[in-house]
Symmetry: C2
Subunit: 215 residues, 2 copies
């Protein structure tokens, strides 16, 4: 069983390895990869050792081989049909994010409550047409959506989440700035862009405080 803290870092290693592979690198040491991923080399080696023994002592790791192993571990070698609910700027940002399709995430549906937005075509590469929100259940059933992304205003998030779960989706990514709750057995991850900024403000405030003391 891979610990949660390690799982959260695997995408960092994956991203760094993709960049290295594209640059044509064949092998990489734990020191180099750790630097590129923004972690310490001891942590990286410990993490990788939990997946298996994929390195060569005295040499390092073979870039493409390690990349494949991490991709497989993360499940990026398979196809993930994704539906995005909410087509505001955030929903559009997600739909246009190039990093999805290359990692097996396939946007099979965009849903908007606002009739004005229905019919718009959005995407990088394969364009997807925005459909009305009431087709949510239909879409999930027809396309076998495995991951539902909530990019709606906060007040709509719980209702959308409930509808996604009722329709059979068991993995929910929430970008709405509110707590949503799900039944046991459903995975949920939340990111609130505003909360992250507040953590930063906390640290900046500390710095300012220290400077005032010093002067």
């Amino acid at each position: 069983m891979v610990p949660e803290a390690t799982v959260a870092r695997l995408p960092l290693y994956h991203r760094a390895l993709v960049a290295m592979s594209e640059r044509g690198a064949t092998t990489v040491s734990s020191e180099e990869l750790a630097l590129a991923a923004g972690v310490t080399s001891a942590k990286l080696r410990k993490d990788l050792s939990l997946l298996g023994s994929y390195g060569i002592r005295g040499v390092g790791y073979e870039v493409d081989y390690l990349l494949y192993q991490i991709s497989r571990e993360l499940g990026l070698t398979q196809d993930w049909p994704v539906a995005i609910v909410g087509v505001g700027n955030l929903g559009r940002a997600l739909a246009n994010y190039g990093g999805f399709s290359s990692r097996g995430f396939r946007i099979v549906g965009l849903l908007a409550a606002d009739p004005e937005k229905v019919g718009d075509k959005i995407g990088s590469g394969a364009m997807v047409e925005v459909r009305p929100l009431y087709e949510l259940e239909l879409l999930v059933r027809d396309t076998g959506v495995l991951i539902g992304v909530i990019a709606t205003p906060a007040h709509a998030a719980q209702d959308i989440c409930d509808r996604l779960v009722a329709a059979g989706v068991r993995s929910i990514m929430n970008f709405a700035p509110t707590v949503v709750s799900v039944a046991p057995g459903v995975s949920l991850r939340s990111v609130d862009l505003g909360l992250e900024l507040q953590v930063l403000a906390f640290h900046e405030q500390r710095k300012i405080g220290r400077e005032k003391v010093r002067s």
Copy 2:
């Protein structure tokens, strides 16, 4: 010294308390607030006890008083001039995010490399005009930007970060899907929307694996 894990949760409590205050609640127990914030009550009480003794035994916490204390701790009672670099969908999503101004974050500048976007007016409430990227240093100096937000494509992120730091910004929020590095003394937080989805895919894959075994 407040531990990092606690700092990361304070914005959750803040968000829950704002909602409660708006709803007119006057007091709240650790149990209720924990539920609203999505944490356990023991964790909540431990976190709050690290800030000070703001509760009343046998009663709970006074909503507005606790909200003020957390706001002060996070630095949300002061004014934070923010510059957003990059006016794609993500930059726009951030500029339109209503949760900023109410928490002391004031967007004083939007910068775009693309001349087509310069002059656009964006925002919720006070509109901000998009300025050309070469005015970055000027903007930071004139408006005293304390937090720089990077919402550019990955390849531009490090350069923008370096320019922000050189101009005097010491807190950077990075939304570009790449590692950026900063000098010691500069705070950096990164959020990669794509990485979060990968963690979700990992867990969903585990579920699918278990089901196959069972059948």
